[in-house]
Amino acid sequence: MAEVFQAIGAATALSSTNVFNSKRVLFSYRRSVSERKTSVCTLRSDGSLFSGLSSRGRKAEPLTAVATKTESSTASVASKPGHELLLYEALREGLEEEMEKDPTVCVIGEDVGHYGGSYKVTKGLAKKYGDLRVLDTPIAENSFTGMAIGAAMTGLRPIIEGMNMGFLLLAFNQISNNCGMLHYTSGGQFTIPAVIRGPGGVGRQLGPEHSQCLESYFLAIPGIQMVACSTPYNAKGLMKAAIRSENPVILFEHVLLYNLKERIPDEEYVLNLEEAEMVRPGKQVTILTYSRMRHSVLLAAKTLVNKGYDPEIIDIRSLKPFDLYTIGNSVKKTRRVLIVEECMQTGGIGASLAAAIYKNFFYELDDAIVCLSSKDVPTGYAGSLEEWTLVQEADIVTAVEDFFKPKELRRNSGS
């Protein structure tokens, strides 16, 4: 059984003075889950370490509003303020820490070695660890993904970088058949502790093929987990968790988020792959989002708060499986759900999430779920077309306002 969590030191506290572009980001935490053989440690957002058997209680979370300076939380021990870095550097930091700790962790992908990664996530690693450990592959996604899977079966822990997640379409054979299913097909004999990561999503006029959001394509594959990072803090934490997980994990990054800056803790921390992140607690409407749209939602939330609304914003982070506990609690509280995503409207993550919420929490809802997604069109190159394809802040504000309008006056800003 893999140890998913690890924290250094007995009483290290998580810094609560993280600054993130003047927005406050609150971290959710989870009581330790495992009652199994290994004891695990969870780092809680209030800084305490919880170890040992699970408990069912959950502490109240301190409230903060968006875009206000925060008071420090009730951390027991004041810690160092941490260090500031960009998201791609956070990814690299997490990656490097894991490579340092475990020599079987290796990186496989195009231009990850000498070039340092097309978004510089693996910069400097080849020099440090050698060309075999940070392997520059020929352009053969299906085959090098399969090769990484074979390596994972025989004892290594590879991280496969897709130069763009769209290229994973070429590796679908290996991801679906082998990555997802081999553990089951072999009767549990072989594990595939691989991580597949890379940037996706709409950038700045990259054209239809480089602007794809493929998360939902992989949603139905049994046996894999999917997470999406959105801040340097969760990027590093999820990267480490994904590498340590015994399951195959697909980590979705976003092209426009690589230069996001945030102050993250100096202490080592690992996040929970299956949990969602409470970004802004509220009472009126639950906004579920992930990846880049989180930031659009936060911008829209500024407007909404000024107009007197009180949205609860959750970054779902775990795309497969959904964290139905955090989401469910929020739905029960606000009774209104707005999903904001960059995925396609038809067959997107939002569509599946809405179905899951209806299935589990139908009677908690006062209104139909509104799902704002990208239009079912390829993302055109022209700036204007690209803008109309995606969800914009104004759409989010409109959608929230619509919840409180009678049906005839709603502007149908989503479906």
Binding site: C106, G146, M147, A151, T154, Q189, E274, L324
Partner: protein
Amino acid sequence: MASAFYTINTIQPGHRTANKTFNNPNSPFLGSSRKLRLVPFSNTIQSAASVRRQSTIVAVSSSDVVKKKKTNSSFSHSDLLITREEGLELFEDMVLGRGFEDMCAQMYYRGKMFGFVHLYNGQEAVSTGFIKLLTKEDSVVSTYRDHVHALSKGVPARQVMSELFGKTTGCCRGQGGSMHMFSKEFNVLGGFAFIGEGIPVATGAAFTSKYRREVLKEADSDHVTLAFFGDGTCNNGQFFECLNMAALWKLPIVFVVENNLWAIGMSHLRATSDPEIWKKGPAFGMPGVHVDGMDVLKVREVAKEAIGRARRGEGPTLIECETYRFRGHSLADPDELRDPVEKSHYATRDPITALKKYMFEHNLAKEDEFKAIEKKIEEMMEDAVEFADASPLPPRPQLLENVFADPKGFGIGPDGRYRCEDPKFTQGTAHV
């Protein structure tokens, strides 16, 4: 002795060369740095230019050796390719493969197994010739025609038969079936249903072997991986992509093409622009070898050299084994397309009969020893079927067990607990 390998004629259908005496077991392998000495033996020889590449990368055939041994029947022991013990081992392994597949057919028609079952009858020489040279730590990757590869590698017949019956005592707990034989203990990495998708996995296993040696500094890591696949796969992108990567990084892998001329109903010649698959090796910088896959001794000689090459770190080899399947593509295939003349031609080259003949001629074993082995295998098959019959089907709790290595992957339910903590999870009835 100088190399006795020569370039081959263009292969014409139906004109496959009969069993030529394999000459010269001590000659150096074509992939070595020795120069290839070309001796024209017919007027249809290929141009030498096609072979005159870098001295280490050549494509040759070992099945058209012309020089014949002296015709009198007494062979000195140093000319023998195998010892008596080795011969009996090879014989037993091939009889095991044949007997198992025949039993499979019986059981299938009796309704004990279902789905797609692909039998290996006729191709035993390839599996036995290669896999009997491996250690337990070496890996084998195969396709859906994988029962015999698993057996040769050492997976007990009971476990394979159980797997075919879909019982929980099968090597994959009944979850894989005929096309997905896996064994961690014996390093059988599958068993793949889509053709070509096993080759990258094999390349990965070879990569791990190299990684262990060079990054983890495990000096004794010289494990070799064999990837078996067919002629149809050789037109697939994954094949070429992996040839490239394996040669690029000198991975310890041997690519074994079991060219049985047919991909279900598609003749190799109708599907391939250049049907000589062994020639595609040098295009990627590795030796390409063609061998008579119906002759276990020839296969074994070629295999020895290729596996040795890989173990020494000299890189991959592509070996095309000309072989034939006596049955249809699968048990559901009516096998109407293949010419009966072709079938009977290859029936005369049955590898088991050929080996028996060789051993008789060289006084390596007697008839009753062969009979004893055949009887032993028969009993083993009966035992395997009995065991599989008596084994239970997978119970309900098994449904959710192996989906994730870490079952937390099923996520957190609305009640705040992980789904895998639900007591119904171990009963297989939890909602996930």
